[in-house]
């Protein structure tokens, strides 16, 4: 006995209903098929956009990964080179860099500050050599040194 079994009367009714024919649709068949073909062509065009975008993204990610790996290798090599580097065995040490001194008025604050920094004390140039003779110059035209213990020059200052 079938799971889905109707009584005799219902089976007769079922057979009777099957004879009823629904109203034919007024949809234009040829126009529908034409429209469907047109839309499926458009769908075909769009169908490849996502796979193409995916492939392009994968390629870009791969290239970035390879370049990152190469860069990492170079960095490790440089780190290794720096780790094995010994400054004492450098065959040709380069000359120490000389401080760059810009020309300034000899009696200016900048020139005096530089003089103190470079020579450790204030050097005053004789008159006519590096500029006008200032009030802190020595009487025998020698460059004089300003020291903290020099009372005469301190008083002049």
């Amino acid at each position: 006995m079938s799971e889905h079994e109707l009584g005799d009367d219902l089976t007769t009714l079922e057979a009777r209903l099957r004879k009823w024919a629904p109203v034919p649709s007024r949809i234009e068949r040829d126009r529908l098929i034409f429209e469907a073909g047109k839309q499926s062509v458009n769908a075909d065009r769009n169908r490849f956009s996502w796979p193409l975008a995916t492939v392009a993204s994968i390629l870009a990610a791969g290239l970035l990964g390879v370049s990152w790996d190469a860069e990492r290798g170079r960095r490790h090599a440089l780190e290794h080179e720096l780790a094995t580097f010994r400054p004492g065995v450098d065959p040709a040490p380069s000359a120490p860099a000389r401080p760059v001194v810009f020309a300034a008025e000899p009696s200016s604050y900048l020139a005096l500050t530089r003089s103190i920094r470079v020579f450790g004390e204030l050097m005053l140039a004789p008159e006519g050599q590096n500029g006008p003779r200032g009030p802190f110059s020595h009487p025998n035209h020698e460059p004089c040194t300003l020291r903290s213990g020099s009372r005469e020059f301190s008083m002049e200052l």
């Binding site: 219902l10 009714l13 099957r18 629904p22 034919p24 649709s25 949809i27 098929i33 469907a36 769908a43």
Partner: protein, 166 residues
């Protein structure tokens, strides 16, 4: 991809039944629009569905229910009343098309849907169950109840005819 010949064959086999199916929720013109949209969606599928009839019924059902919701809102707003049309072109000698439509429309929606999809759509109870979101046994029960109701009402004289003769 479904070729035009196959699409034409599917259209010939199912279009009228699908319009009848969609008319449970909407009027004739809207039902035809819904069916047309379902066929266009079918043509856009990269591969034809395994169960084409069931797929089309589901697409039509979704479209018709959406249209029904929109129509109900519109009718509520405009106060319009739908005019009944005959759903059948040919019936038997015991009943005319309009009466058959009236009887079918008088059934509870769930029973009517099972009868339409089973009798004219040719779906199995398993497919109907999936369409309605119920078990196969429930779909069959609804079918049997619907047929019983239909038989009972077909046995009864039409109330309009009765009142006209008396």
């Amino acid at each position: 991809m479904i070729g035009p010949e196959r699409l034409g064959a599917i259209f010939d086999a199912h279009a009228a039944n699908l319009v009848l199916f969609a008319r449970q929720w909407c009027d004739g013109t809207t039902a035809e629009d819904v069916v047309q949209e379902a066929f266009l969606s079918l043509a856009k599928q990269s591969e034809a569905p395994v169960e084409v009839a069931a797929w089309l019924h589901r697409a039509v059902r979704n479209g018709a229910v959406s249209a029904f919701r929109g129509k109900t809102r519109r009718q509520r707003r405009e106060g319009a009343v739908a005019v009944g049309e005959a759903c059948f072109a040919r019936t038997d000698d015991q009943i005319d098309a309009r009466e058959a439509t009236r009887l079918l429309e008088g059934l509870p929606p769930e029973n009517r849907e099972v009868i339409v999809t089973r009798t004219w759509g040719g779906l199995s109870f398993d497919q109907i169950g999936r369409l309605q979101g119920c078990s196969t046994a429930t779909a069959f029960r609804r079918y049997r109840e619907g047929l019983a109701l239909l038989q009972e009402r077909m046995g009864r004289p039409c109330p309009n005819t009765n009142s006209a003769t008396t």
